[in-house]
Every structure is written in structure tokens, then in C-alpha cells.
Amino acid sequence: MTTQSPAAQGGAALAPVTGRRSPRRRAQISRGIQYTVLLALVVVLALATDWARVGTTFLDPAVARDLVPTLGGALVNTLRYTVAAFAVGLSLGTLLALMKLSSVRPYRWIATVYIEFFRGIPALLVVVAFGYAVPVALGVNIGSLTAKAALALGMVAAAYIAETLRAGIEAVPRGQVEAARSLGMSHTRTLVTVVIPQAFRIVLPPMTNELILLTKDTSLIYLLGLTPAQFDLTKVGRDALSTAQGGLTALFVVGAVYLIITIPLGLLARRLEGRTARRTRS
């Protein structure tokens, strides 16, 4: 570029056009290079892959077809374990969140210890404990498998949910509480009518995360020992893997079914989130 360009005449004082490219030009060029490299990578990968082998390893139609009849029941089971565990997690988590925010110090201690403990150990240990240690240690026999799964996974989820909810409750503006109290509402009434409903709206996105994580954690309950009617998606996939041909096709199919649950959940959350944002923006 030369000093004869129009830009040089117009804005010479602040940004003289030099030999160096402007930041906007440089960004444009950099973007162009990135697109080109990305496209090249995709082409190379596509050409280098042995598609026939991928087909027989991951997407064997025969294996997939054999698997489909068993998937319906497994899907229902997975959903049942998830919903039951989430119910436990949400109730216990709400209680723990309120304890953590309580003015009664021992409540805060108990909640803190609980949360740190269950957040810190693998969910797998808790499931195993519920399967073997708890019945022996406490002399109780939890009959229903769903109840066992809900308690084990719910107790772990409660620790995460409690922390999420606590943050949500603390994010409700103080003025909301003051307005409610100034109208004569008691502390508890304020919490129930004003704070918790707004906290739930705030925590909707992270709560969806919890639910999605929980959906996948139900794969751990095979450790409790399942009858075929109780099989969840992962268990069905693993069994199919050990018996059938077709490589990893079973896992691939099961993974797709998990996505059928979790992707709509994410979409639903995003829609609710949008609605909440519209309702509360000011």
C-alpha cells in the first residue's frame, strides 16, 4: 500500500496506512488459514479411513438388529433408575442446601461433611456399599432394586445438587427476601414462596447437567446384581458385546440410545432457560 490510498488521505492522522496489515485484515487471513487446514484434515481422515472395517466394527447391521428388541426394556429401566435417583437426590440435596445455609452451626457442619464425603468418593464405591456392605452393617434389607439404585446414586447426586442449589439460593437478590419479610412473611414462608422458586429457575441449567450425569451413572448399578428384566442400557450393551460378532456395534448402539435421552434433556433445558430469561430480565 502506498500513501496515495484513500484511507491515507482520510484517516492519516490517527491510523496511517503503513506496510503492516491492519488487525482486521490479519484476523481475516488467520480465519481463512484455519478453515483451510480444518478442511484438509477432514479430507485426509476420510481418505485414510478403512470404511468397510469401520462398518463391521462399529455398525454391523445384523448385530444392531438383534439388539433392538432388548433396548426398549433397558431404556425404560435406565429411565426408571434415573428418575428415582434424581427424586432422592433432589429432596436430599434441597435439605442439605438449606442445612448448609442454616444459622444453626451443627447443621452446617453435617451438610459440609456429607457433601465433601459423597462428592469425594467414586459413585461406584457407594453403589457397591449399598449392594453388599449396607445390608450387612445395618441389618436392613432393601428389597427393591430400584430403591437400592435410587438410594445409592441419589445420595451421591444429592451432594452435587446441594452445592448447586446453595449457589442458586445465594444468587436470589437480597431485596427479594427483604420485600417478603417487610410484608410480614416468616423466614420459612419467604424461603418457600419467594427464594426457592427463584433459586430453582437460576439453577435450571446446572441441574440439567446433574440429571444428564445421573442418567449415565445408572450404568453402575450392574454392580448390584441384575436379573435380565432389570438390565439397564449399559448392561445390555456389555452383554451383547461379549456374545455377538460385529465388534463394538453394541456399545455404539447403546451410546446412541443414551443420546436419545440426554440430547432432548439439553434442548428442553435450553428452552426453559430462554423462557426464564425472558420472564426475569429487567
Partner: protein
């Protein structure tokens, strides 16, 4: 009004002024915000509290319904000593309306619900009655047509008028206003002050913290000037705003009434 305290007669006194504050102190940590306030507000009186920011006006107001717990001193509201630990403060608050600078409408509830929740949960009014009272008060503040709106869909001025209707729906014996127009765009201030003027003319007992000198001059029965945690002077508006006797009041009024006035303050 109801008697929030079951037994002890000395705690409630029906013939007392609407508010009687004696020797009120309030500290936040080492910082003493109120340093001994004595103040009375009588039934039917409109008292405006003015003063520089940080003078403790809002804290004083918030001590009346115990949103702030006083460090020392007594506060009697509608004859009840609210600073006494045996008093059920919720029962007193139900009769004391409060309007905040930042409106504080319940963001998740409609305009109508904002005005009915406390009626239903605190006063235990049936739904139909609560809604009738709410609609009456929303009409009074000129928002009868917005009952189904959510707070976020209203302008600041409208939100503040809903907040006033929400407080009025409890049939309060006394209203507290904490800088009700400070968060509003200038062109919306008039509507809110108009509603407050109507209330005052209707005989409502009002304690108003405000920066609106014209409003104080026109509507207040008494103006209280506060500075540095103390009441510096009080009296009829024409006296306190028109002919202040204290230098601190004069300095403050010069700044408020003529913000472009740049003359350095003598003695500081």
C-alpha cells in the same frame, strides 16, 4: 391493629404515636451509622427524612421494621416495642408497608400475584378477597390494566407503583418509603410521587427517605435533616428547607437545590 404480643401490657400502647424512636444506635462492625436518634411520627403525619448520602437515613428507616437490628435504643411501632425480643416482628410488619429504592417485586410472580401473596399467606385472606383488594389498589396506582404482566415487562415507574400497591394491599397503618424514586428515570419520577401525594392526602402515616426536595416541601408535615448518624434539625418544611438554622443543613440544601453551585464550603 392486632396485638402482636400476648401478655405484657407495657410492650403495646394503643394511644402511642405511630413510631417512637429513642436513643437509637446502629453500628456495622466498627462503623457507627446511627449515633443516637430520637424521633416520633404521629398518626396521619407525613415525615420526610433528608440528608447527604451515608448520613444513615435508610438505616434509620430499616430499623423501624427491623430489617436492620438496632445496636441500642428502643423502637416502638404502632404502640409495640419492636426492639423487645418477645415481640413477633412479623405481626407488626404485616401492618407496616415498605417501598424500596430497587422496587424488589417478586420477579417470578405476576403483578396481581405480587399483590396477593402476602395477603393470602400472612393475613390468610381467601383468594377472591385478596384479588379484589389487589385490583383495587392496582387501580389506585393507575395499573389496573397490567395485572397479568410480569415485573420485568414493566417500566421502573410502573414497577414502583406496583410495589406501592403491594404494600397497600396489606391495609397498612403506616408506610415506609426508602428513596422510592432514586432508581427511576427522571421522566418516571412524577407518576410515583403523584401516587405518594394522593396517599398523603388520604391521611396515610408516612415516613419517607427522599432526595426530592420539591416533594418534601409540598407534601411533608415535617422534614427531618440527618447528617453523620444524627438528626441535625427538624420542623415544618418551610422552616427546614426554607430557612434552615444549621450550617450543615444549609450546605446540603445548597448542593441539592443547585448542583452546579461550585463554591467551596466554608470551614471544610
Amino acid at each position: 391493629m392486632t396485638a402482636p404480643v400476648t401478655s405484657s401490657a407495657p410492650l403495646t400502647d394503643a394511644a402511642a404515636p405511630a413510631i417512637r424512636i429513642e436513643g437509637l444506635h446502629k453500628s456495622f462492625g466498627p462503623r457507627e451509622v446511627l449515633r443516637g436518634i430520637d424521633l416520633e411520627v404521629h398518626a396521619g403525619e407525613v415525615v420526610c427524612v433528608v440528608g447527604p448520602s451515608g448520613s444513615g437515613k435508610s438505616t434509620l428507616l430499616r430499623c423501624v421494621n427491623l430489617l436492620e437490628q438496632p445496636t441500642a435504643g428502643t423502637v416502638r411501632v404502632l404502640g409495640t416495642e419492636v426492639t423487645h425480643p418477645d415481640v413477633d416482628i412479623d405481626a407488626v410488619r404485616a401492618h407496616v408497608g415498605m417501598v424500596f429504592q430497587s422496587f424488589n417485586l417478586f420477579a417470578h410472580r405476576s403483578v396481581l400475584e405480587n399483590c396477593t401473596i402476602a395477603q393470602r399467606t400472612v393475613l390468610r385472606r381467601p383468594r377472591a378477597e385478596a384479588e379484589r383488594v389487589a385490583r383495587e389498589n392496582l387501580a389506585r396506582v393507575g395499573l389496573a390494566d397490567r395485572v397479568d404482566a410480569l415485573p420485568a415487562q414493566l417500566s421502573g415507574g410502573q414497577q414502583q407503583r406496583v410495589a406501592i400497591a403491594r404494600a397497600l394491599s396489606m391495609d397498612p397503618a403506616l408506610m415506609l418509603f426508602d428513596e422510592p424514586t432514586s432508581a427511576l428515570d427522571p421522566e418516571l419520577v412524577g407518576d410515583v410521587l403523584g401516587v405518594m401525594r394522593d396517599l398523603a392526602e388520604g391521611g396515610m402515616t408516612m415516613l419517607v427517605v427522599t432526595h426530592e426536595m420539591a416533594f418534601a416541601r409540598e407534601v411533608a408535615d415535617r422534614v427531618v435533616f440527618m447528617d453523620d448518624g444524627l438528626v441535625v434539625e427538624q420542623g415544618p418544611p418551610e422552616q427546614v428547607i426554607g430557612a434552615p438554622t444549621h450550617e450543615r443543613t444549609r450546605t446540603f440544601l445548597r448542593r441539592v437545590l443547585d448542583p452546579t453551585h461550585q463554591r467551596p464550603v466554608a470551614g471544610r
